[in-house]
Each structure stands twice: as C-alpha cells, then as structure tokens.
Point group: C2
Chain length 274, copies 2
C-alpha cells in the first residue's frame, strides 16, 4: 500500500483537490487545518479526515500526523505569515519560534518548517508528485492569445522578476504598456491585483505575470493561478495572465480556460528559458 | 532682474516652500494649480499669484505662463497620473494625449510634458536650483542612527532598488530583517507604507529606503521625505528612513530631524556610491 499522505492545509481550493486526487489514486490522507483564518471546512464537508490545530501548535501537529501514520507530507494552499506577537505556541512551537523569527530570504519560514518535519522522519513532497498535470503547460490555455503589446509587457514583467531573483521576492508582477504597476510582496496576488486596479491606465491592456522565484523550493509556495485569479484579473481590467510553464500551478485547468474564454482574457504558459 | 518662475504645483508642502524661497531671493513667481485632487489652497492663502486649470488644459496653462511672463518653470509636488478615460483636454492637451498615452519607462509622462514646455521656449529647471540645500545630506539627521540589523536591511533595500534600475520603477522600498515587504510602484510612498504596515513582523525593525531611479530626470519627481514621512513611518512601526544623499529631497530638514528625534526613528542619508 502506498504511504499515507499528511496534508498541511492552507486556504483556497488546492488542499481539497489534492485530497481528492490522492483518494482517486487509492492513497489514504489525513489533513491538518488551522484555527482562525485558514480553517478548511470544505475538507470536512467532503469527508476528508482532518484535525484542526492552532497555527503555533507544532508539537500537537507532529503528534497527530504520527498518530494517523502519515509518512509523506504536503504543504498546500495559502499560508499567511502569522504575527509573532499574538501567536500561541506549544512547547515544540516555542522551540521553533526563534528560528522562524530569524528566517529570511534563503532560509525561509516554510523552509524552517519543512526541515522540522523532516527531522521527525516525514518526507515532505511537492503537491505535483501527487497531482499529475498540476503545473502550467506551455502555450494558450483558452482561445485568447496576447496581442503584441501584451507580449512585450510579459517580456518586461519576466525581466523584472528575473532581476529580483537574488532577493527572494517577486513571484508576480503587473505591467501595463511598459510600466510596472506593482510587484508582489508577502501580501499575495489577490492583494497585488486589488491595489494595482486603481493605478491601471486603461482597461484590457495590463498583464499579470507569475513565475517561480530563483531558488524556489519546489515543495511549497509555488506560484498558482486558477479560475478565481482569472475573475479577479478581469474585474481589475487586465488583458490576461502569463505563467511560467512547468513552474506555476494551475488549479483546475479546464475551469481556468473556460473562465478566460468567457471573460475575454488570455491565459498563457511561457517556457522558463525562452 | 532674475527671470520669473512658473511653478507647476502638485500637492504637498513643496510648492509653497519653493514659492517662498523664490520670493526670499527676490524672484517673482506665478503658480499653476490643478482642479480636483491637487488644488493648492495654501498658495493662495500665502498670497502667491496663481491660477487654477484643469489637468488636461495644456493650451490654457501655456497661455497663462506666457501672459505672466514666466521664463523658468519648475514642476514640484506630487502628481497623480490622471485617468485618460475621464480626462478633459483642450486643443493642445488633445494633441499631447497620444504621446502621454504612449509614454513608458524611458520616455515618461513627465518627460513628455517637460519637452512640451521647452518646445514653447520655457526653461524647465529643478527645484533645487531655486531652493538651496533641498537635497539630503549624508549622515544622520537626528540623534538616532540605524542599528546593525537596520544597516543590513538598508544595504539590501539599496541592492533591490539597484537591480530594478533598468525598469523605471522603485524609488522606495521597505525591508524588514532581510525580507522585502514592499516595493513602491506608481502608488507613492504613503500608500507603500500603508500597505506594508500590516505585513510587518515586529515593531521598530523595518526600514524605508528611498533613492533616485537610474536615469532619473533631476528636474522632476525626485524621491522626497519630510516630517510627515517620519510620522507615517513611526505609526507603521518602522525603525527609520534611509535616503540617497544629494539624490532625495528633504522637505524641512530641521522639522524632519526633530520629528525623528521625538518619535525615536533614525533618518539617514547614504552616499550614492558607497
């Protein structure tokens, strides 16, 4: 029997999709969800065995994963960096806290957490090892393709993200007519789009570009888009979305293409080295 | 008699300060203010001759500046990029519009506008030719200086801004403990600070770094700070501000240092090549 999978579940649609993909492959799963903003009621509703813990309850999380005999772990969904001031930690959490507080660029918080899991004997794997075809393909996802101006903005966006490579920032950028409107920081893509929307100059011109960061850990925090990203971009007045093929995750490819077609946006995958 | 100065006045304290500095030097001034968000009532209250125009009334602006016999022009204060959709233009404005719409990076909107003024025979000059000691000095402005961590975050901020050099973005950045929290786009520094505040991890750690963009036109849109920037940074929980000496503008140096001392922040000027 294939090893049981522990799902460390952030918010969004991905944890449930992963759980269902595992079950379709005959793999047992057990999910950890977190009190507060990222409770994942959808998992419980779909009958996925899960337990809810506080975000600082590291010892309890490890214990639950062991009790449920998980061998492989996947961190999936969105995680907000918690405010250290208000964080409630258990004993193991308290021991981890100084490392998390010191975590910066190369030694990211997710890296610290994954190392802790591995020290306990779990194998931390990427979601794409359990969900085939999760990563973006090259080429257009729907019927729309970027016009010449959008192509040039995509090139510029990629160049800016490349330039930011050494600094562990910038999985996403919005460019309009050769002008950078916003670069994603820890606020996430939805907030990036929201703050850029009023700064856009024209409707149907700007582009959202998403790519992996240089040195990106392939097991967590990959750039992701889905049907909801298309909706948000359409509402903000963007022309389309370009993602790094084989780098970014696309949640629900069929739904993403359908949404793009319905809204008149392009969604395109570009090769990492082109 | 020295040539009369036309002040193209954006928002903020700088236009009035410039007008007063000109008058103190015995130079006559005439200011253009703009209907809507950047009316500058302070100029009128201080008895500075001025006229209010619509932001798209280019022909009227040129006519007023000629009627008032202005020879030198200064663009000063903050300008919001207008939404082209709702912009009301006169004949000259309409002729300029396609150039403005096409303006990107190297050929910025302010560049297009300054070129138009120069074509009409005005000399567009930098505010610092009329306000001695406007640019930041090197070294600490008040009694506080950056701790080692803050110094390292300043170095990182400068490195990121340098990396963005080719892209005409990034006069400001916020870094906390080796982690980029936000890079300024067209939203301006106040909005950058506002959106970064909830993303900061600890109080009194992060730094704001401001520097000229590579290829920056020295006559307009220089990075600027002042007492209000110190207040905003203090409220956001930043440790201090670092600006490029001889590059950034400091509005009211004495007031800025006093505010920094009162709030416990450092404000420091760094040499462009160090």
């Amino acid at each position: 029997m294939p090893p049981k999978v522990g799902i460390i579940a952030g918010t969004g649609d991905l944890p449930l999709r992963l759980a269902e993909s595992c079950r379709a492959q005959g793999r047992e799963v057990f999910a950890i969800t977190f009190e507060g903003e990222n409770e994942n009621a959808a998992l419980a509703a779909a009958g996925i065995p899960s337990a809810k813990v506080g975000i600082g309850s590291v010892g309890k999380t490890l214990l639950l994963l062991k009790q449920h005999k998980c061998e492989e772990l996947v961190l999936i969904g969105k995680f907000q960096r918690p405010s250290l001031g208000s964080l409630k930690v258990d004993f193991r959490g308290a021991r981890l806290l100084p490392k998390v507080a010191r975590a910066t660029g190369d030694d990211s918080i997710l890296g610290v957490i994954m190392a802790e899991f591995e020290k306990e004997g779990f194998r931390v794997v990427g979601a794409d090892t359990l969900m085939p075809k999760l990563r973006a393909d090259e080429g257009a996802f729907g019927k729309h393709t970027p016009a010449e101006l959008a192509q040039s903005d995509i090139r510029m966006g990629r160049a800016v993200l490349d330039a930011l490579g050494p600094f562990d920032i910038g999985q996403a950028i919005i460019v309009e007519r050769g002008r950078v409107i916003g670069i994603e920081g820890p606020e996430g893509t939805d907030n990036l789009i929201a703050r850029c929307a009023p700064l856009l100059h024209e409707r149907g011109v700007g582009v959202l570009v998403k790519a992996r960061k240089r040195g990106q850990d392939e097991r967590a925090d990959l750039p992701a888009i889905g049907p909801r990203t298309v909706q948000t971009c359409a509402e903000a007045g963007l022309a389309g979305i370009a993602v790094e093929a084989e780098g970014a995750i696309v949640i629900d490819k069929v739904g993403t293409a359908a949404e793009a077609d319905a809204r008149g946006l392009f969604v395109i995958g570009f090769a990492a080295k082109s």
